[in-house]
């Protein structure tokens, strides 16, 4: 009989880890709390840096896991270690006995209303990067009505002591420039500004995207944080920021403001994480054993981690970690 591996989370990390474990002859079981597999990426339209349709990637991943046992709309409500591994109880009252557990629980999107000065949930034309992606995917959002002037605010909920998130969320810079290009495609006459602290274009093709956004799409990148957002009589958004390259404050009226929300630790797994004895790291994500050679391991034997549950990660990083966790689990079972 094949050995069960319990994978909590059916996003990119969970699906890819399951795929690899299945290929290795093991029996991964995915438990996903939402109604579908795919995680955040399934809500995305196109991926940076090459504007690749997210749907193609998700469909491929879904095809890869079609023969793998999956529970949807299901959560792990209890988990205990026993002599043979782990005994998990699901919210549908079924139980799973597994040799190992992979936590692939991903991330939560920072709730933009916590940055009250940006006016999300107060001013109609302030939206999040997730909502803009939804607009690209569906073409529907009443707030996005032929905007002539659009701003993007980087680092919303990241690198920000005020909200206790001092870490960089890693993907927001590249996402902002991707979305800036895309909204110019939809509204070619619009002026598009991005407000950044640093542009962290670290991956293959990312710097090219930065140059492309300026050369081909005339996106204007302003180095400075937006400090205040308000609304004028016409419902337009008035922002205050500082252009730190010019050393001057600026004020600008926009039709649409997009907040690039950061990743935060997925807190819905906290109770199970606690039962498994996994601590959080200084950024509030799950603590792995070692950042170099034990990134998939945890302090608890038989419990592994993959993807954005340990830190903000891009999709390629997540898939790489998902594959490596499969190797770690395989080696663990065969030691």
């Amino acid at each position: 009989m094949k050995e069960n591996i319990l994978i909590i989370g059916g996003g990119a990390a969970g699906m890819e880890a399951a795929t690899q474990l299945h290929k290795m002859g093991l029996n991964p079981i995915i438990v996903e709390k939402s109604e579908a597999l795919g995680g955040h990426i399934a809500q995305w339209d196109r991926l940076f840096p090459a504007f690749h349709p997210a749907k193609d990637v998700v469909e491929q991943m879904l095809d890869n896991v079609k023969d793998i046992k999956t529970y949807l709309n299901t959560e792990v409500t209890d988990i205990q270690r026993n002599n043979d591994g782990f005994h998990a109880v699901l919210s549908n009252n079924e139980t799973i006995d597994a040799k190992a557990v992979i936590l692939a629980t991903g991330f939560d999107v920072f709730k933009a209303e916590r940055k009250q000065e940006y006016g999300y949930g107060i001013y109609n034309n302030v939206i999040t990067s997730v909502e803009l992606e939804e607009f690209f995917r569906t073409g529907k959002d009443e707030r996005i009505n032929h905007p002539k002037k659009i701003g993007f605010v980087h680092c919303v909920g990241a690198r920000d002591v005020k909200v206790c998130n001092t870490y960089c969320s890693k993907v927001c810079c590249t996402t902002a420039l991707k979305q800036a290009c895309e909204i110019k495609e939809v509204f070619p006459d619009a002026e598009v500004y991005t407000f950044y602290m640093d542009l962290r274009m670290f991956g293959l093709g990312y710097e090219d995207l930065y140059l492309k956004s300026q050369k081909d799409f005339d996106v204007k990148c302003v180095r400075g944080r937006v400090c205040e957002v308000s609304e004028d009589m016409d419902g337009k958004i008035v922002i205050k920021a500082e252009d730190t390259l010019f050393g001057k404050p600026l004020k600008m009226t926009l039709d649409l403001l997009v907040l690039m929300c950061s990743m935060e630790k997925n807190k819905s797994i906290d109770a199970i994480q606690q039962k498994l004895g996994i601590a959080n790291n200084s950024d509030g994500f799950m603590q792995n054993k070692d950042m170099y050679l034990g990134m998939n391991d945890t302090a608890q034997e038989g419990v592994f981690v993959a993807g954005a549950c340990t830190a903000p990660k891009s999709l390629p990083d997540t898939i790489g970690e998902a594959r490596s966790v499969a190797v770690e689990v395989y080696n663990y079972l065969n030691k």
Partner: protein
């Protein structure tokens, strides 16, 4: 505007404050700027609402202006505050309420600092003993006086005679609210409604029948940034801040500005004259300015106090158009009369902005 978003924030930033028995301390500058405000606060709370608000004649300034002007160190400011707390303790009170926003910020900062650094509190105790032979107890509750008017706003509304409504049109007056910077910008949880969308004055306006104006420069400084005004060479910054606010609120045609800080109504009032002198522009209708009142003055007006007893003749911007909009009777002859009808003399009136 999504009002539900603001309402959620207002619900998140509420304070459970005591209903009665407060030790009241005045502002060092409000009595000169707006001499009717503090006495009206005490009259409303004591005589109209039947509350116990005690004032000790030996209390002093909190030292906030000197502290924020860098002329005294924080330890000195804290020792002054410790003495105020000692007076409260000696008087048998545990709830402390201050008239001034800067004071509220200083008291809050001091209590929070002592909470984080108890060794500093011990040093201040020693300083107070060495200098005054006094011992203090920290207040169980610290409030700003506008918190109390906010808390009692519906009780005031029950006694209201002249709501914030234009008697000629029947429409709510359009009211700009301006919050003193030190009310909640430093410690958002200490203010009703938090730092970005404070509810303390909004709640009064709504309870008394007015309509709140939210305009792009709502959060901007009134112009009384200490370094802008106390340094004479910087006073242009002070005026430019005020000018920016008026330019931003002008399209909304507000009838009234309500404030909860000593300096804000002063600068929002007086700079209107200077702007008019310099540019010829006024922001009210027909050559008038927009009245900038304290919350106690507004509470007094809606409750039917005589405008001249409230000290509204101390405002540069003429109050009469507002009184007429609200249907409040007033005797023009008494505007410049002191106690017992003594003629105080009419001040010189500028021609660039209407005075009566």
């Amino acid at each position: 505007m999504i009002i539900e978003g603001k309402q959620k924030i207002w619900a998140d930033y509420q304070k459970d404050i005591p209903n009665d028995h407060y030790f009241y301390v005045r502002s060092c500058i409000r009595q000169a700027f707006w001499p009717g405000s503090e006495v009206t606060f005490l009259d409303i709370t004591r005589n109209k609402l039947g509350k116990d608000f005690y004032e000790n004649p030996y209390h002093t300034t909190c030292g906030g202006i000197a502290y924020h002007s860098d002329t005294i160190p924080q330890e000195t400011a804290m020792t002054i505050i410790a003495r105020q707390f000692a007076l409260m303790h000696e008087s048998g009170y545990e709830n402390y309420v201050c008239s001034c926003i800067t004071s509220f910020g200083c008291y809050t900062e001091t209590l929070e600092t002592w909470h984080e650094y108890p060794e500093l509190e011990a040093i201040i105790r020693q300083y107070l003993w060495d200098s005054c032979k006094k011992e203090f107890a920290k207040p169980k509750y610290l409030a700003h006086a506008s918190d109390l008017i906010y808390k009692f706003r519906f009780d005031i509304a029950k006694q209201m005679k002249f709501p914030l409504v234009n008697v000629k049109t029947g429409k709510p007056l359009k009211v700009v609210e301006h919050i003193g910077c030190h009310y909640s910008k430093m410690f958002p949880s200490k203010g009703f409604g938090g730092a970005e969308y404070p509810h303390v004055l909004v709640g009064m306006i709504e309870a008394w029948g007015g309509e709140v104006v939210d305009y792009p420069e709502r959060r901007h400084c009134c112009g009384f940034g200490f370094r802008q005004y106390f340094v004479q060479a910087n006073r242009g910054y002070s005026e430019s801040n005020t000018h920016k606010k008026f330019e931003s609120m002008e399209p909304y045609e507000p009838d009234l500005i309500i404030t909860n800080c000593p300096g804000c109504p002063y600068f929002l009032d007086r700079w209107q004259y200077v702007i008019a002198e310099q540019t010829g522009k006024t922001y009210g209708k027909n050559g008038y300015g927009i009245p900038a009142l304290t919350y106690e003055e507004v509470a007094g007006l809606v409750m039917g106090y005589d405008p001249w007893d409230l000290g509204l003749q101390m405002h540069q911007v003429a109050i009469e158009p507002l009184l007429e909009k609200m249907g409040i009777p007033y005797d023009p002859k008494k505007k410049y009369q002191g106690l017992n009808g003594k003629d105080l003399g009419q001040p010189m009136c500028p021609s660039c902005i209407k005075s009566v």
